[in-house]
């Protein structure tokens, strides 16, 4: 009976056919060996790549034998093909070279291709894979194996300032879509052989390269192994962005809060790695992930550490405050207007009531109207073509501002509330964290409309309870506040001077808990000290 219901409602459970191409991941035992029969290999490749216009197969002569060179036009550097293959093969000494077996093929490569990265491959699926990752492959008649020469084009967007998390003081370079460039951006900051990048291929159809980076004598091995385990167990067909990975490896899906940190800033990632965290780089995405994360990380930005520590601590306080403002201001307004008039000083109350006199809606409708209008404007602002930006901003400013008030649809104080909320929301350094407060704000508004401040408080306590139930790779989300860790308080609400931060966060339980044991305050010794 149950099976029968399953068949009707969950047919996918039965038809479990993978779309993975057999050419890439053959079943075990059915791998085809490159056996030197170049005609059949040519035919197989033609079948595999079908009508792709960028697939090229050129016949050539190598070591006195016939051969084929395969490559994808789009992935390889045409200049490289020209120089390395054509020139090498037309070289007189190369023409005299004779290849009769695999050993001699290797010798040929040593002699003539040593300037470029090459490798000998022996299976057909490897050949396909090499072509797809930008190599040219040469097969020789009657010789087992093939030569694959790396001719990847290194085309990428130039390194520019990140569009999120901009800083006033601090490095201005940002990650780009090419994973190799991103690796180099991190490596340049940490010149340490212990910084390691483990590579994985994720996505059955896309075969996206994913790097897991960590510093192996600092990172907590349990956390690192857990990250690798979760990454390996991803069964996705396509990975385009680190956001895809994030959803697969998060500890909990039903939460508006992000359980991995994402940033475009190489200095942030370098800092996180040195704290003992694990970074995840995804080819094709300028956003690099870092795990495990605690809520405190979302209120920090690398600039905090470049500015004087008092300033750094102050802006951090401003960020915490703004999060709270963005979360509860509209709800608080609704609660006070609807239930708790006595909380407002009389003068102000009279003013607000006078404004609201012409407004036909209850506070709840008014606030929802404005909030939703604002969310629409905001979405339009992100998505619209740059050319029409002017129009939207003018219309938006007029609609949401004066006109709505003059038309008597909303009160002027409501406009202030929505504006303050919106601006406070933009303070959050990490965009994905700000969207959590965007969502929860509406729940708070509804609670406050029903129960006043009591509802808002219930909502806040429920949110805190939810936050304290979250974990990111086993690390409690609210660490080091709850559970309270005294040693880690030097980087939570107040950022201590850099020389005062001697230890790595204890909640990460790193292999090297002390990072700079000898750091001292720069105070000079008192005069006349003698020594």
């Amino acid at each position: 009976m149950i099976n029968w219901i399953q068949k009707i409602f969950f047919p996918s459970k039965i038809q479990r056919k993978q779309s993975t191409p057999d050419e890439l991941v053959p079943e075990e035992g059915t791998e085809k060996v490159l056996n030197g029969d170049i005609q059949s290999i040519h035919a197989e490749m033609n079948k595999a790549f079908g009508k792709s216009a960028d697939f090229k197969a050129g016949e050539l002569k190598i070591g006195g034998k016939r051969g084929f060179a395969f490559y994808l036009d789009s992935m390889t550097d045409s200049k490289g093909i020209n120089e390395i293959i054509t020139k090498t093969l037309s070289d007189p000494t190369a023409k005299q070279y004779r290849i009769n077996n695999e050993e001699e093929l290797k010798g040929f490569c040593r002699e003539f291709f040593s300037a470029s990265a090459y490798q000998i491959i022996s299976y057909q699926h490897e050949l396909v894979w090499q072509l797809l990752s930008g190599s040219a492959v040469i097969v020789v008649e009657g010789i087992e194996g093939a030569v694959s020469i790396d001719l990847k084009t290194s085309e990428h967007r130039s390194i520019v300032e990140p569009s999120t998390q901009t800083v006033v003081r601090g490095p201005k370079d940002g990650f780009v879509e090419s994973i190799m460039v991103n690796v180099s951006l991190i490596r340049r900051r940490i010149k340490n052989p212990h910084l390691q990048f483990e590579a994985f291929q994720i996505g059955k159809d896309t075969r996206t390269t994913v790097y897991v980076a960590y510093i192996d004598n600092i990172v907590n091995l349990g956390i690192r192994n857990e990250v690798i385990k979760r990454i390996k167990s991803i069964e996705a067909n396509a990975i385009f962005e680190s956001g895809n990975i994030e959803e697969f490896i998060a500890d909990k899906t039903w939460t508006p809060f992000p359980l991995a940190y994402n940033t475009e800033r190489p200095d942030s990632i370098a800092g996180h790695l040195l704290e003992g965290k694990v970074a995840i780089l995804v080819d094709g995405s300028p956003f690099v992930l870092s795990v495990p994360v605690t809520i405190v990380d979302f209120f920090e930005i690398s600039e905090d550490y470049y500015e004087p520590f008092m300033m750094g601590s102050f802006v951090r306080f401003i960020r915490y405050l703004s999060f709270l403002i963005a979360l509860v201001t509209p709800a608080f307004y609704v609660a006070v207007i609807t239930y708790h008039h006595e909380l407002i000083p009389t003068q102000l109350l009279l003013g607000i009531i006078a404004q609201r006199e012409g407004v036909p809606f209850p506070a709840l409708v008014e606030v929802l109207l404005m909030e939703i209008t604002f969310e629409i404007l905001r979405e339009a602002g992100v998505r619209m073509p740059r050319a029409v930006g002017q129009t939207v901003s003018i219309v938006g400013a007029l609609v949401i501002g004066q006109a709505a008030v003059e038309a008597g649809i909303v009160s002027a104080s409501m406009v202030i509330v929505v504006a303050v909320t919106a601006i406070a929301n933009f303070v959050s350094p990490v965009y994905s964290f700000a969207s959590a407060s965007r969502l929860l704000r509406f729940i708070m508004i509804l609670l406050s409309a029903g129960f006043g401040l009591y509802g808002v408080l219930i909502g806040l306590v429920a949110m805190v309870a939810h936050l304290s139930s979250l974990r990111s790779f086993g690390v409690p989300y609210l660490a080091p506040v709850a559970p309270f860790v005294w040693e880690d308080q030097n980087d939570v609400f107040i950022r201590f001077p850099i020389w005062g931060m001697k230890k790595r966060p204890r909640y990460l339980d790193t292999q090297a808990p002390i990072k700079q044991p000898g750091s001292k305050s720069p105070t000079p010794p008192p005069e006349g000290d003698g020594s």
Binding site: Y339, H340, E342, L343, P345, G450, F451, G452, L453, Y454, G455, L457, I458, V461, A462, V464, A465, H466, S468, S469, P476, L478, V481, A482, P483, F484
Partner: protein, 372 residues
């Protein structure tokens, strides 16, 4: 998934403080002692510290076992299930009472037009959600909000002082009626409520990560909470005077209404509710958690599936235990405290203590004999 949830030492401290403050600052304490109520509370605190030590000692006979498992250890499963059911009923009943205290205050002072059922339901939904998440989130929530409770207390005192409402004369003359009324309030009223209520921690304390500190921490927690409650009692009397406190249903709330600074900060009672609500939520959740642990023991299955249905039933029960607030308080003072509380908080644990003590000693002797 982790099988065992643990509570850190700091979290236990936060839980105990919040729990003890809980409903005792909502409804005033020790009204019979007149202006010496604060002395009564402080004396009861000293007793309460002793009580905390007693419960700790009871648990330390069998480390890692909670109340119900110790019951089984001492009396065998059949009797243990019976007594556990009694405890479960007691905990649920007190949880309902606690939530009723708060809901009554909300309806009479903050949200007069909202029916008590709605207020209660929302509170219980929150409690159910926290319990569904588990003990750890409960403890962490308590940990996070504790500093705010102390800050709000300090702020309230400061504001009352600034607006000139505190007058030390209201508590004079000290000991005008002698020690007799104080002794009468300490025993049995204050002994059972709030200090004897620590009995629920016999179902929780055993999950502390460093159990050997648990006793000390619980004692410190009771001490701090007692000082805070004593302080708030004294403040209520100093602000309102003995007669108003006696007449007021929710003295701390009435006291907070007196605040008026620079004609700007006025009527902050909605904020005072904040302190109270946290205490109530924690207290209610702790009671419910202890009861659910009992259910887990009796029915031998995880408590999570029970959380929402039972909590909703309790929410209904809360409304039905009394027709109005006067009856609710009357029941509390004249029936619950002398009969129910005294039995479950002192009589049963005392018997359990003696039996467990004898049994543990016997076992040790046996082991010693085997070794020798």
């Amino acid at each position: 998934m982790k099988l065992q949830e643990n509570v850190s030492v700091i979290q236990l401290l936060a839980l105990v403080i919040n729990f003890q403050i809980g409903s005792s600052i909502v409804v005033g304490l020790a009204g019979q002692a007149k202006q010496d109520a604060w002395i009564a509370v402080l004396i009861a605190t000293v007793v309460g510290v002793g009580v905390a030590y007693f419960y700790y000692k009871l648990l330390s006979f069998c480390p890692g076992k909670n109340l119900y498992e110790i019951l089984e250890f001492s009396f065998g499963r059949i009797i243990a299930v019976g007594v556990s059911l009694l405890f479960i009923g007691f905990f649920f009943y007190i949880a309902a009472r606690v939530s009723r205290d708060f809901a009554e205050m909300m309806t009479s002072a903050i949200l007069p037009n909202t029916p008590i059922e709605a207020i209660n339901l929302l509170l219980m939904l929150l409690v159910a959600y926290i319990l569904y998440l588990g003990l750890e989130p409960l403890a962490r929530t308590a940990e996070i909000f504790s500093p705010y409770i102390v800050i709000f207390f300090g702020l309230l005192t400061l504001l009352l002082w600034v607006s000139g409402d505190i007058s030390i004369r209201q508590v004079q003359p000290v000991l005008a009626y002698g020690w007799a009324p104080i002794a009468k309030t300490v025993f049995p009223d204050l002994m059972s409520f709030p200090f004897g209520e620590l009995v629920v921690f016999t179902a929780i304390m055993c999950y502390t990560t460093k159990f050997r500190y648990a006793g000390k921490v619980a004692m410190v927690g009771v001490g701090i909470a007692g000082l805070l409650v004593g302080f708030s009692t004294a403040m209520q009397i100093m602000v309102l005077g003995v007669d108003s406190v006696a007449r007021s249903n929710f003295p701390l709330l009435s006291a907070a209404r007196e605040v008026s600074v620079a004609q700007f900060i006025e009527r902050i009672d909605a904020f005072v509710v904040f302190i109270m609500m946290l205490g109530i939520v924690i207290k209610c959740s702790v009671y419910m958690f202890a009861a659910f642990k009992g259910i887990e023991y009796v029915f031998k299955m995880p408590y999570r599936p029970f959380v929402f249905p039972i909590t909703m039933v309790i929410s209904l029960f809360t409304v039905m235990i009394a027709f109005n607030f006067a009856e609710h308080i009357d029941e509390g003072l004249n029936y619950t405290i002398p009969y129910f509380n005294a039995t479950m908080e002192y009589a049963v644990p005392l018997i359990l203590f003696v039996v467990t003590y004898i049994k543990v000693r016997k076992q040790r002797k046996k082991k010693g004999a085997e070794k020798a």
